[in-house]
């Protein structure tokens, strides 16, 4: 008959530091492979759109303004993304990635759409959707 089998654990814990991470005061960096926010490099992209095709939640849309000049805008629905990494696997040119730098995505408003690409391309795209007469190719 044994009572108090966890006595040693209790005694030890009393003299050691708590194992709780006091977030947000203490932030432990995630490991290298952690799948955080999307990153996109338009200069390597060819516009094949394989990433868009296999996304389980339709979180990416690729807008091709000019394929030859590599003017692409990636529309990313941050609220839909499940961080599965299939887009990274599909991309043959390594232009899309999920970096471990930014993973705190809680938001207070509903502006979930993020645009990736060169600034001038994004500006051009936003202009064009404000003027519905001219529609760029999108996929």
């Amino acid at each position: 008959m044994r009572i108090g089998t966890m006595f040693k654990d209790i005694l030890k814990s009393f003299f050691t530091k708590h194992s709780t991470q006091l977030y947000p005061i203490e932030r432990i960096a995630p490991p290298e492979r952690y799948r955080g926010i999307l990153s996109y490099n338009p200069s390597v992209c060819t516009g094949c759109s394989l990433c868009v095709k296999d996304c389980p939640s339709n979180a990416i849309e690729l807008v091709i303004l000019d394929r030859a000049a590599k003017q692409y805008v990636l529309k990313y629905h941050m609220d839909r993304c499940v961080y599965c990494g299939q887009c990274v696997v599909n991309c043959k040119f390594k232009c899309i990635g999920l970096s471990n730098q930014d993973w705190e995505h809680a938001a207070l408003d509903k502006n979930f759409m993020v645009y990736y690409g060169r600034d001038q391309d994004i500006a051009k795209f936003l202009e064009s959707i404000a003027r519905p007469a001219v529609e760029p190719t999108s996929s």
């Binding site: 009572i3 966890m6 654990d9 209790i10 814990s13 009393f14 050691t16 708590h18 709780t20």
Partner: protein
């Protein structure tokens, strides 16, 4: 003693408001120690105060089928019972506010008043969970009350008096925990049963019956029951440490001895699994009662021989 001093000592210091504050601080110590034993951080010092303030600020939802007099009155009776019981114990090491021969029995019954109010409150709200919680509370009361009272009787016998003040004075010369060790253990564990601390928290087992007898209480009523519970904590610990650990005369001995008892109770809380209600009753009536009766017999014989 004029009326003003009497009122102040009953309502402000050391009983009344000071008691409530100290009670909540002790509750914090208990929660923090349990957390540290479980390798967690635990709450900050003002947590129990914050809880009570929040509860007072919330809406009190009254279930439809309750008797409103009982529903609103029981928390008040419970907290007043606890506050009154505190008038007869040596709080914060000072002499009891009021004292008369036989006040030991009165104190213990006033403490039980709180448990009975909880049971009645559970029966009154008559939701499924509270009925079972009430049944368990009263069953447990039935189980530990006799051994606990007898365990407190041991030092009373040794001191030859039923008055808490006199027993306290007697105990400061004799360390009764040494001469009645079994009584000390039964008193300590009986106190855990009275306070419904694990392993005797079957009446409020959250994984089975949500919150037991107090399930339907919210807002002020719940706040008052909670305050009553922390007062009961302090009063119980004061009694046990006054009787067994050599009397309480002065603030520092009070703090040292009561915190030591609290520490022991916390260790027992974290080490042990919750007992089922039938196991609790079985334990008390089989071991608790027999042990304490043997202890009392021994004390009587000893006193008879020594004197």
């Amino acid at each position: 003693m004029n009326i003003l001093t009497s009122l102040i000592s009953s309502l402000i210091f050391p009983a009344g408001l000071t008691l409530i504050v100290v009670g909540m601080l002790y509750e914090w110590v208990d929660r923090k120690l349990v957390a540290r034993f479980q390798n967690r951080v635990g709450p900050r010092w003002f947590q129990p105060f914050a809880d009570v303030v929040k509860l007072f600020a919330k809406e009190q939802i009254t279930p439809g089928i309750v008797n409103p007099i009982l529903f609103f009155g029981l928390p008040i009776v419970a907290i007043s019972g606890a506050l009154t019981a505190a008038l007869y114990v040596p709080l914060i090491g000072m002499a009891p506010v009021h004292s008369f021969p036989g006040d030991l029995i009165v104190t213990i019954y006033l403490l039980s008043l709180l448990t009975m109010c909880t049971g009645l409150a559970g029966w009154n709200t008559s939701s499924r969970f509270s009925l079972i919680g009430a049944t368990r509370t009263l069953t447990q009361l039935f189980a530990y009350e006799a051994p606990f009272l007898l365990a407190l009787l041991g030092p009373a016998l040794a001191a030859g008096s039923w008055q808490i003040g006199m027993i306290n004075a007697f105990a400061s010369d004799h360390l009764i925990a040494l001469s009645q060790p079994v009584g000390f253990i039964v008193a300590l564990i009986g106190l855990m049963g009275k306070l419904e601390l694990p392993p005797f928290d079957a009446p409020e087992a959250e994984t089975e019956i949500v919150a037991g007898a107090l399930t339907e209480y919210s807002g002020r009523g719940l706040a008052m029951f909670k305050i009553g519970k922390s007062i009961e904590l302090i009063v119980g610990i004061t009694l046990v440490s006054a009787f067994y650990l050599g009397g309480l005369h002065g603030v520092l001995p009070f703090l040292a001895k009561t915190l030591a008892v609290l520490f022991l109770m916390t260790i027992l809380q974290t080490l042990l699994t919750r007992l089922r209600i039938d196991q609790t009753v079985g334990l008390w009536w089989r071991f608790g009662a027999i042990l304490v009766l043997a202890q009392i017999l021994f004390t009587i014989l000893l006193k008879g021989y020594l004197l």
